[in-house]
């Protein structure tokens, strides 16, 4: 079997890890960093309290802050960000936020590296050729794994469509994982991004590009999520559970950045853009349906995952039986999390109407995620998944 695995990101993880931020910037020879974030994070106080303290302690100046990243990262926001970065003579990036902030920061770094003003010509796989400036990420949600992935998605306001970028040069230099950064995360977001991370792990595990390293990572991620997501959703004061979820999301990110996701994400991407629902919510609606479509083709892999989620006495049975058992546990787990957090239980709850079905199917079958799925995403299969997500 032939495979490649790549993850050059230094990981600094644990309670108070943020206090290492100034040291990391020194290591990367960053003199004038810019903090990129959104309004919600800025108001939450993570930056003004924890990060500021880290710089104050060492009597270093607090970096400049750009907090105008929208909920969905867009070309306009990135252009504004680039201007701000240039005007202030910054030389490095600290992204503090979720998927949108991290993707915008990756996009900024791409523009700097390629010395361009607009992103359009850089869309696609492996287009960029140069390394950007020193880049540190502090994730404030536990789900996207964007701190270790080589992809970014930006909404193009001109063509009204999403542009995807993929290159190993997009990966940050360091990721700082600190439970203080997810303290103010609302219950719904903890739950939906946690299920997103779970789907990254499961889809990476059953992908045609899965390999021994990514499977080891994905297996561990599933195990941690099973143990910690319910506790993190129930009680946001549970720091240990939040730290575990940040780790799981990062580990799943490493796995799927090297093994890719599959048909769950194809449907989640298309339904997300048609129904205008957040990515994690869309994933939570299609995860079980997508795994069920893989029950036969990936029976071996799914039966292995049973070992990550169940007690020893559940391990017996044929491969097929164990795969089915895993899917049974998965469905129960996802429903419990959705109910606990008040997430939509069916597509209808998320505002889906029958007229949108064709559009969702069309976009899903043209989504790149399905390339790496063992089963093909035919129109019939996409329809099956929509029907299943509606029940």
């Amino acid at each position: 079997m032939y495979y490649e695995f790549y993850c050059p990101v230094k990981i600094i993880s644990g309670d108070n890890a943020i206090f290492n931020l100034p040291n990391e910037l020194d290591r990367l020879k960053a003199k004038k960093p810019l903090i990129v974030t959104d309004d919600g994070i800025k108001k939450s106080g993570i930056i003004d309290s924890v990060i500021k303290m880290a710089f104050d302690e060492l009597k270093k100046p607090m970096p400049l802050i750009f907090s105008e990243i929208p909920v969905e990262s867009s070309t306009k926001a990135v252009e504004k960000l680039l201007n701000f970065f240039k005007q202030n003579g910054c030389d490095s990036i600290i992204a503090v936020g979720g998927g949108s902030v991290i993707d915008s920061s990756k996009a900024l770094n791409m523009l700097i590296a390629e010395n361009r003003d607009s992103l359009q010509e850089l869309a696609g796989v492996d287009i960029i050729k140069n390394r950007g400036v020193p880049f540190v990420v502090i994730p404030t949600t536990a789900g996207t794994g964007a701190e270790v992935t080589s992809v970014a998605v930006i909404f193009d306001e001109d063509s009204k469509s999403k542009m995807a970028f993929a290159s190993s040069l997009l990966m940050p230099d360091a990721a700082i994982i600190d439970p203080a950064a997810t303290q103010t995360l609302p219950k719904k977001l903890t739950a939906s991004s946690g299920i997103d991370a779970l789907s990254h792990a499961i889809e990476a595990y059953i992908s045609i590009q899965s390999n021994p390293i990514s499977r080891a990572l994905a297996f561990e991620a599933v195990k941690i999520i099973w143990e910690s997501l319910p506790a993190a959703v129930k009680d946001k004061e549970n720091k240990q559970a939040r730290e575990n979820m940040l780790n799981a999301s990062l580990i799943a990110g490493m796995a799927f950045s090297n093994s890719m996701v599959g048909i769950v994400h194809s449907l989640a991407h298309s339904a997300g853009s048609v129904l205008h629902i957040p990515h994690g919510v869309a994933v939570s609606l299609f995860l079980v349906a997508g795994v069920k479509e893989n029950a036969v083709a990936s029976a071996k892999e799914l039966s292995e995952l049973l070992n990550a989620v169940a007690y020893m006495n559940e391990y017996r049975g044929t491969t097929k039986q164990r795969a089915e058992r895993f899917i049974y546990f998965l469905e129960k787990f996802v429903n419990q999390i959705k109910q606990e957090a008040g997430l939509p239980l069916t597509l209808k709850d998320a505002g889906f109407t029958k007229e949108q079905e064709d559009e969702i199917i069309k976009l899903a079958t043209r989504d790149g995620s399905s390339i790496f799925s063992k089963v093909a995403l035919t129109k019939e299969r996409a329809k099956n998944m929509i029907d299943a997500a509606n029940n």
């Binding site: 696609g124 492996d126 390339i371």
Partner: protein
């Protein structure tokens, strides 16, 4: 299959020639194929190359059909094989395109959904020119009846295979 005794470059240029001819022919005559390339924008152009060689296939969509794009410099989509062996495996029908992509043997520059469209079209071409026993292995699952109905193109493939021995 990718042994050093095979003159890969020579065979590849022949296979690529068959590929080009096949794409043009199907875009005019095969209803299944025409349906598949319908979503590609008019004037859409693509290039298939093998790194560090002069082997290349360049085509574009013009008036709804595919034509050669010999003098084109810029392309909407570039598919580059990592080496002769990788290109040989795919063009000779020993490895599915998706597998080549997943093993980093094939890199894609450009819009992924256009690449998926083109992949479906190439799958259709392979279903036509290769015997069932081969094309079934190259394609995950086919929508509808695309695998049925064959044409005389199978001859080209057999011709190329004979040259391997």
């Amino acid at each position: 299959m990718c042994s050093k005794f095979i003159k890969k470059e020579l065979i590849l240029s022949l296979l690529m020639f068959v590929f080009k001819r096949g794409m043009v022919f199907l875009s005019k005559n095969d209803t299944e194929f025409i349906k598949l390339i319908k979503d590609l924008p008019e004037r859409f152009s693509f290039l298939m190359t093998v790194r560090n060689t002069n082997l290349r296939v360049s085509m574009k969509k013009s008036n709804g059909v595919l034509i050669y794009a010999k003098n084109q410099k810029e392309f909407d989509l570039i598919l580059e094989f990592s080496n002769l062996c990788s290109a040989f495996l795919v063009f000779a029908g020993f490895m599915p395109q998706y597998q080549a992509f997943s093993e980093h043997r094939l890199s894609i520059k450009g819009n992924i959904s256009d690449a998926l469209c083109l992949t479906d079209a190439i799958n259709r071409l392979q279903a036509v020119i290769f015997p069932d026993i081969i094309s079934k292995k190259l394609i995950k699952e086919f929508e509808g009846s695309s695998l049925k109905e064959k044409s005389l193109f199978a001859k080209f493939y057999l011709y190329a295979l004979l040259l391997l021995r």
